[in-house]
Structure formats: C-alpha cells, structure tokens
C-alpha cells in the first residue's frame, strides 16, 4: 500500500518511467548506457546542489544563493589552481570551508535575527556573485595533472557508457543525503522544523543549531557543486550558473517535496534531476526543437506537481473528515 505522503514521489517516478519509455519508442538509441552516463555527468553539479536545496526546502526555507556560490567557487578554484598554482586539494578544501561558513552565517541570520530565508539568501546571492566578479570577470582556464586525472577517470558500462568521477560524486552525495534525511536525528529535526517550527521547538528540537546546520549543509554542497562544475568545464567563470538555484528548486518540487516544508524525499530530487536531464537529452536527439523547450516542459511539470500536491492535501483532509464521521 502506498502511503499518501509517498504519493508525489511515486507519481514522479511513474512520470519518469513513462516519459523515458516514450522517448525510447521514438529514439531507441536513448536506451543506452552512453546516454545515461552522459545524463548523470552533465547534471552532476546541479544534482549535488539540489540535495542541499532539498534539506532547505524540507525545513520550510529557501536558498537563493546556490548559483552564485557555485560561480564563486569555480572562479576561486580556477584562480587559485590555474593562476596561482595552488594544489587543487588545498583549493578544494579552502572553498568548501568558505562556502560552509557562508551557509552557516546565512542560517544564523535567519534563525537569530528572524529574517526570512528568502531575504537573507537573496542578499547572499548578490554577495557571492559580486565576490566572484571581484576575483575575475574573465573565464579562467584551469589545468593540473590531478584535475586531468579526475576528469579522465571513469568506469565503463557494458554498451560503451561511462560512469565518470563526477557522476559517482553526485550519486554518493544523493546516497549520503538520503541517509542523513531518513536515518539521523538531524534529518528528523529537519522534517520536524518543516512541519511546524513552533511545535518542533516545544518538543525540544534544537531549532537553532539545526537551522544553522541546514544552511551550512546547503553551502557546503553548493561549494562541492562548484568544484564539480569547475571539473566539468575545466574553467571558472563568474557569469556562469546564473539561475541554477531555480533549476534546483524545480528538481526538488518535481521530486515531490512540498514547498511549504515537512514532506519529501531526497530520492525524489534525484528523479527530478533525471527528468530535467531526460528532457534535455530528448531535445538533443530531436535536433529541431529549441533548447527553451526544456524550460517550457519544466514549467508545465511544476504546475502539474503543485496542483497534485494541493489535490493530495484536499484528499487526505476529506478522508480524515470521513473517518471522523464513521467514529460518530
């Protein structure tokens, strides 16, 4: 039996399977490990960032700074490694620390100054983008033997597809993220805050440290996504990844997470990412469609899911009312 709270996830999964089947009917080549491998690699940085966004939205918040933090990270890494010759590992560690601190600071402002997440992370978005411009307005190429090694590393699927290091990183982030959400006290606290911050507080949930933790996690994953993006493009560019936070939000919502918080699954976000990637792949295969069709289809899907979520709330309220009638 499917619990109603898993219904959005099951629907998303169903839509993905049907959509993929339809695509394969038209272009049988789409059912190849090559396509799947590329899909995972191309969306790796978005997927990593979307895991952080999932936690933020589950807690009832929003993080608009993700795209800017990714751009900042990629420029920062590119300048450190490409121009200043710092070892990539040191550069990676440095940006992860910076982005995590940046996220914690935003979380602390949201919690302790009582400023809405939308406003705080909007400020964070401008700040990180500005800092990226400050470092460099040029596209900075990056080349280092370790980076080449990471880029060249992959497992070969039967059928010629490649599971790249980036794709593996994303899958790892999703698996760890799903574990944190479902099986740790931190994860349980995130759902609790998303359900009702006031109730969570009265039930003894450490709302302060959890909120800071959520935005720190989102900051950390944005930094990691930035590293993935740098590896993916072999460069850093401050104008890149504008609006990626919105793609991440779309993936989270299509994945069945309620924008109001408290309900959703990390696995759903993964499907959300796959659906976005599938649409892009279809457009490439078709060859005649404008790439803007991706946005149109995502827009339609978002509408469908918001309506679906309303419908589920309506349905469960009705069932509850019927249950009460029976008791009387």
């Amino acid at each position: 039996m499917i619990h109603t709270r898993n219904l959005p996830f099951v629907t998303t999964l169903g839509i993905f399977v049907i959509a993929y089947a339809l695509c394969v009917l038209q272009f049988p080549n789409m059912l190849s490990t090559r396509v799947i491998g590329n899909l995972l690699t191309d969306n790796a940085f978005l997927g990593i960032a979307a895991v952080g966004m999932t936690f933020v939205i589950l807690s009832g918040g929003i993080d608009l700074s993700i795209g800017s933090v990714i751009a900042f990270t990629s420029v920062f890494v590119a300048v450190l490694v490409g121009s200043l010759g710092v070892h990539p590992l040191i550069a990676f560690a440095a940006v992860l620390v910076i982005s995590t601190l940046f996220g914690s600071l935003m979380g602390a402002m949201i919690r302790y100054l009582g400023i809405p997440p939308f406003v705080v992370t909007l400020a964070g978005m401008f700040l990180a983008r500005g800092a990226a411009y400050l470092i460099s307005t040029e596209s900075v190429p990056i080349s280092h033997e370790m980076i080449d090694a990471i880029q060249g590393f992959y497992f070969r699927f039967p059928g010629g597809g490649r599971l790249t290091a980036l794709a593996m990183l994303m899958l790892l982030v999703f698996i760890v993220g799903a574990f944190i959400a479902a099986r740790t006290r931190f994860g349980a606290n995130v759902y609790a805050i998303g359900g009702s911050q006031q109730s969570a507080e009265l039930m003894g949930v450490p709302v302060g440290s959890t909120t800071v933790g959520i935005y720190a996690l989102s900051g950390f994953l944005s930094g990691l996504a930035g590293i993935a993006y740098t590896l993916y493009t072999s460069s850093g560019y401050s104008l890149a990844t504008v609006g990626v936070e919105l793609d991440a939000i779309a993936a989270v919502v299509i994945g069945g997470t309620l924008l109001t918080g408290g309900v959703g699954l990390v696995a759903g976000t993964f499907i959300g990412i796959l659906i976005q990637g599938l649409i892009q792949t279809y457009i490439v295969f078709d060859g005649t469609l404008s790439s803007w069709w991706t946005k149109i289809v995502i827009g339609i899907l978002l509408f469908v899911f918001i309506v679906l979520q309303r419908g589920i709330i309506w349905y469960s309220n009705r069932r509850l009312a019927e249950g009460r009638l029976k008791e009387i």
Partner: protein
C-alpha cells in the same frame, strides 16, 4: 528523598510583562497521584503560570520545588529532563511525521549512529498499548482523529518526563466520547502516581476528573479546594468574584406564537451541497434565534458556510423577501443582509495587527465597496458607539486587536457585523474559549438583538447555551438535518435524544 514533600510546590510565583503584572504571588501544590484543575477566566494568569512551570517563561519572584529540591527550568527541554511534561491544546505534535516519529523525536533509538526504525516502531507499539491504542504507528499523525493525537501527545510527554503532566485545554476540540477516552487515560496515569495539572473551561469535566482545583483571578490566587467539598455555584463565584447571573427564557413563550405566525422572509429550500450537507429546508423569521446542534463533524459549520455563501450550494434555492438570491460568495450574502462570525476567531475572524476601530469598520467598508472609503471620523464614531454598547474592554479604539482578550475580540467581531445592520447574523460557536463573564454577556446580547428584530442562526456545541437562547433548534447528524425542535421541545435531553436515535438507526 522524603515522602512528606509534595511532588511539585510553587510558592509566591510572580511575573510581569513590560511592567504589567501577570502573576502576583501565586502558590500551587501538586501531590503524587493527583489530578489538579487550574481554573480562571481569560487573563487570570493560568497560561502564564503553566509556562513558568514548564520552562517557557522565567519567573520574576517565588520558588519552585520538585520533590523537595529547588528547580528553575529555563527551557522546555530542561523541564522535560526534570520530569515536567506538557501537552498543549493546539500547537501539539507534528502532523507531517508518523506516530512513531512523533513519539521519539529527539530521542530516537539508534544503531551504529543511525536511527533504528524497526526498534522505534516496536517501542511505539508497546508504549501506545499501555494507553489502549492499537494503531499503525507508521501512518502519518494527520491521519488520526484529534483524540488519538492528544493521547499520542500525552504518551510522549509521560514517557519523556514521568513525574508531572501539564495539560492545557486538552478537551477543547474533542466530542463527549473522546473526552471520556482521554479521562480514562488520565485516571490510569493518576493511579500510577503521576501528578497531573489540567486547564479547562468545562466545569463538568473538572468535576468528572479532578481531585482538587486551584482558582486564579487577575493574576492572583483565589484559593485551592477539594472538589468533593466544593459546590458548583461556589466554584463559579470563586472564578468570577461575583454571583453568576442566570440566563432565563423570559417572555419567550409569548413571542413564539407571534413569530411562527409571521411569514418567513428568509427561506432556504432543498438547500445542500454534495459531500458537505444533505439538502435541507430552513425558514428564518425576524426576531428569531435558530439554534444548530450536533456533534463535531455533523455538518454544523458546513451549514453555516452554505448559508453565508462560503461554500456554494449545488441544490435548492435561497429566497429573501420572495426574491430568489444566488449566494455564490460571502460578498453576495453580505449584499442580501447576512453576517457571519466564524468559529476560528483567531484565524478567520480578526486581523490582529489592525486596531479595534479598523476591525469593526471592515464589514461596513466591504458593504460600501472599496471605492468609497470610510472617513476616520466615521470610523471613530462607529467604534466608540460599539465599544460603549457592547462594553468592549479596554475601551480604546486604537488598541491593536491582538492585545484584547478572547471575549472582547468576540465582541468586536460582533460589532463589525452589527455595524452593517444585518437582518440575519450567523454565529458559529460564539462563546468558545471565552470566560464565563463574557459568555453571559454575549448570550444576553444575542437575546437583545433578536428582540430588536434581527434573525440569528447560532451554532453551538454547548447544549445549555442553545436551549437558553434558541426559539428553535435544528439538530444535525451525519451531515443531515435530522430534527427540528420548537418551543417547549427545546431541551438538552431532546437534542441528545434526537442525535442518539439517529445514530442507533444508522
């Protein structure tokens, strides 16, 4: 540890907010194995006292001893750790989580650092079995009735704390059967030696379940008494500080003959909405109070929503003065001269940040249309008029609505609709959550309004209230209008009889 010590002993508790004294030297002693009721009108300081005991507020004065040792809990979590658990009326558990997740939030059993869901499920099952609940603990809390949620909340609080259980208005949204279920649980916990403090507005329930009662008034202690030795009238006068004025049905019999002879100007026939309320007929005459009775979920509020156009009827017609009207929205209903005071005052009724005057002027403004704003002088005159006639306190038209007590908020909402001079006013639970003094005033106001020729539809779960004021009572059950009681038939017994007969037949 000496057994001579009381379980919880608070002495001389004082608290002030921004210079205004909320509590002044209040004592409370709770014994082991006792259910202790805490009573008082709105604003008496019950909530403040509870919040001090449970660590939400810090106290300014006084001492607090738990089993003889002085304690000063500075947070809910700390109070829980000491053994004091709380169940609040509304802000309760998390509906988006499962029953098991709610029970073990913050203290989940873990294996290798990860939450052990199997263990959590087993322990939840065992825990709830002690309370006579055999439910699917992996289902969402929101899929269960309020009573079950309440018991889950109690189970959590007791399991967490284990010495003192504080219940703030636990029965406010439960029906009679559910209340009995809850009380059975409380009695069992009492036998296990727990000390229970319960806040409630319902005196019947106080006598049914509590051993002793402490009464507060205006932030001061009036007294602590054993209920077995305390007559009801004396308890009420402790709460009010004055003799309760009885509400009688004077002159009503004589009016009724006049009323029923008159042709009804407002008629609903075959009016209904699928899935909400089955089609019903209802005639409403001037100067008449029509009561609506039924259990929770019987379709009371749904009927009000239909009459006021919040829900659209899908069958039947509504006629006002022999002209058919389409009540497709509250706006249309207001245009026909209807007014509606909803049940959820805080969420549906008031705008807390607006002043009293603005809140009162709202409906008049809506009726005039937004293009013709009411001048501030008119608004002030309107507010002054109603503050005087309804005795709204404090008599300050510019005060923000959220700072008024529940009873005064309700009066202000009444004023809002009275200002539009409606011919039909629908009141959904007009006295819920209101202290006894304001209660009587509002009932009197209702009588006066109908004497002035206004028609009223009053929905209430308190049968005594309905029988006191209504000329006729419509009884609902199972989302159907099942009976109409008139004149001498209007008694609490008859209403319950009607519901019971219907339930047996179903």
């Amino acid at each position: 540890m000496s057994d001579k010590n009381s379980l919880l002993e608070a002495r001389g508790i004082g608290k002030a907010f921004l210079g205004i004294t909320a509590l002044d030297g209040v004592d409370l002693t709770l014994e082991r194995g006792e259910i202790h009721a805490l009573l008082g009108e709105n604003g008496a300081g019950k909530s403040t006292l509870i919040k001090i005991l449970t660590g939400v507020y810090s106290r300014d004065h006084g001492t607090m001893r738990l089993e003889g040792a002085e304690v000063t809990p500075s947070s809910v979590a700390e109070a829980q750790g000491l053994g004091i658990g709380t169940v609040y009326q509304e802000v309760n558990l998390l509906e988006n989580l499962t029953v098991a997740e709610n029970l073990f939030l913050g203290r989940q059993p873990r294996r290798f650092g990860l939450i052990d869901r199997g263990e959590m499920r087993r322990r939840s099952k065992t825990l709830l079995e002690r309370y006579g609940l055999d439910i699917d603990v992996d289902a969402l809390l929101s899929s269960y009735s309020v009573a079950v949620r309440q018991i889950v909340a109690i189970a959590r609080a007791v399991d967490l704390s284990g010495k003192v259980l504080v219940l703030d208005e636990p029965t406010a949204s439960l029906d009679a059967h559910e209340v009995e279920m809850l009380f059975a649980v409380l009695r069992r916990l009492r036998e296990e030696g727990l000390g229970i403090i319960i806040i409630t507005h319902f005196l019947n329930q106080v006598y049914a379940v509590a051993d002793r009662v402490t009464v507060l008034r205006n932030g001061r202690l009036v007294g602590t008494r054993k209920l077995a030795e305390l007559p009801r009238l004396e308890l009420i006068s402790m709460m009010l500080g004055r003799e309760l004025q009885h509400i009688t049905r004077e002159h009503q019999a004589q009016e009724e003959t006049v009323i029923s002879a008159a042709e009804a100007p407002i008629r609903f026939s075959g009016y209904g909405k699928r899935g909400s309320v089955a089609p019903f007929d209802l005639d409403i005459r001037p100067g008449e109070v029509v009561g609506v009775a039924g259990l929770l979920g019987s379709g009371r509020t749904e009927t009000a929503f239909l009459l006021f156009g919040i829900d659209r009827a899908d069958s039947g017609t509504a006629t006002v003065d022999n002209r058919e009207v389409a009540l497709s929205s509250p706006e249309a209903a207001i245009a026909s001269g209807f007014g509606f005071c909803p049940e959820e005052r805080k969420t549906d009724g008031i705008i807390g940040d607006f002043s009293v005057a603005d809140n009162i002027a709202l409906a008049v403004q809506a009726r005039q249309g937004w293009a013709k704003p009411i001048s501030s002088r008119e608004k002030a005159a309107l507010a002054e008029n109603f503050i005087k006639s309804l005795d709204i306190r404090p008599a300050d038209a510019d005060r923000q609505m959220k700072f008024l007590s529940g009873g005064n908020q309700q009066k202000a909402i009444l004023a809002r609709w009275l200002a539009t001079e409606p011919r039909l006013l629908i009141l959904d639970e007009p006295t819920r959550g209101i202290d006894i003094g304001a209660h009587a005033e509002i009932l009197k106001m209702i009588e006066k309004l109908c004497a002035d020729g206004m028609s009223l539809v009053v929905i209430s779960s308190e049968l005594e209230e309905l029988t006191a004021i209504a000329h006729r009572v419509i009884v609902l059950s199972d989302r159907k209008h099942i009976a109409e009681l008139k004149g001498d038939q209007v008694t609490a017994d008859n209403i319950m009889q009607a519901i019971a007969t219907r339930t047996e037949a179903a």
